[in-house]
Subunit: 207 residues, 2 copies
DNA sequence: CCATTTCCATACACTAACGAATGTAAAAGC
DNA sequence: GCTTTTACATTCGTTAGTGTATGGAAATGG
């Protein structure tokens, strides 16, 4: 086979990553061979070993394609809503996050990470889940604390409890949805649950 | 090596299952060989292939050891609390479930199922999670519906929303805890969150 | 326009793991 | 007490997957 142009080479690299996404989702990471990935992309293992060192390196590249700068998302939210109300900032942050996660590429990669792979090489899904979990927890906590200071939380509901409640609800919703993403829209159901929970947290006279 | 008595044979079978639990947790299911399991139990692969057909059969036996009859748990709860209040029945069911899950054997097997294995053979962790999820959802829904009929839910909170909120919170708490079971007790933190959420759901005058 | 590099295909060696076959000594059954 | 069965250990053949080495043709740079 002949050498490709640079654009073609970049295209086959993307095709390999796309194929890996497909086969990983279908068969699980450990059960898929590099041969299967190459065949699914219309290539051979030679192409795989040219673009990536091994399966772990390929997997790492898969994650890189969806690496979302979490702090950017937080900053954007805070810029637009910190002047108004912390609870509204929380609402916007959650909605934006869910909208992003619903995009096919993000959804598929998270599905692979959580349901289709055990830890291997230098990649530990548990650590990645943990980091994301802690980040959202911290953001929620600071905003709920600010909300309490502004009197947006009902008496008897501490920022700590509010944070843990919402945090658990979000991760639970995420896992339930990820098991069957076709059954419902996480953005729609998430918004309903989020609004219900936030309404229950507000002081009784603010309805 | 000589033949063992029936009791000794049963003991080595349990030892093999114990060893499998250990190695599965440590290395993940797909990355552990039957040789490693056998060695960890002080045996050889011959013992493994005598007691089990293959790795899938061994894994199946692992699950059988913790197979909890969910309906029994539900019935026991309903027997003891259906006469009083549906919300109290929910509370008891959740507490009992969390206490059971906190036992080492249940915890370890669930950790393996969720974090340490991809689907393989006839075992699909997603299907098992889904069944458990649906069962708890149905139990919660019927009890929350009964609670609404008895006026135990605040106006504006439908049984449907209440069910989904608590259900998401429980699965989220479960996943958060299972990632680091040593960080906190799911029973203690779960009870606090559960009480907070149920308090927010009750009509305002019932405090 | 020529040498070199690139992008992949093909071929090869090597290993880990499986499953079956076989060996074996003691326990169970009668 | 003799045979049969059990409960493993040991050995062996086979295969799937990996990583590397080599080949080749076209693109790229000068």
């Amino acid at each position: 086979m002949a050498r490709r142009t640079k654009a073609e080479a970049a295209a086959t690299r993307e095709a390999l990553l796309d194929a890996a996404e497909d086969v990983f989702l279908e068969r699980g990471v450990s059960r898929t061979s590099l041969e299967q990935i190459a065949r699914h992309a219309g290539m051979t293992r030679g192409a795989v070993y040219w673009h990536f060192r091994n399966k772990a390196d390929l997997f790492h590249a898969l994650l890189e394609r969806v690496r979302m700068p979490f702090q950017d998302l937080v900053d954007k939210i805070e810029d637009s809503a910190r002047i108004e109300s912390p609870l509204e900032a929380i609402r916007l942050a959650c909605l934006t996050g869910m909208a992003r996660i619903e995009q096919p590429r993000y959804r598929r990669v998270h599905s692979i990470l959580i349901h289709r792979c055990e830890f291997f090489g230098d990649i530990d899904p548990l650590r990645m889940q943990d980091e994301l979990s802690n980040e959202t927890y911290q953001v929620l906590l600071t905003n709920f604390t600010a909300a309490a200071d502004k009197g947006e939380l009902a008496t008897g509901i501490s920022p700590d409890v509010a944070t843990r409640l919402l945090h658990c609800m979000l991760t639970g919703l995420f896992h339930d949805w990820l098991r069957h993403p076709e059954r419902f829209s996480i953005r729609e159901r998430g918004e309903a649950l989020l609004d219900s929970l936030l309404a229950m947290m507000r002081p009784p006279d603010s309805g």
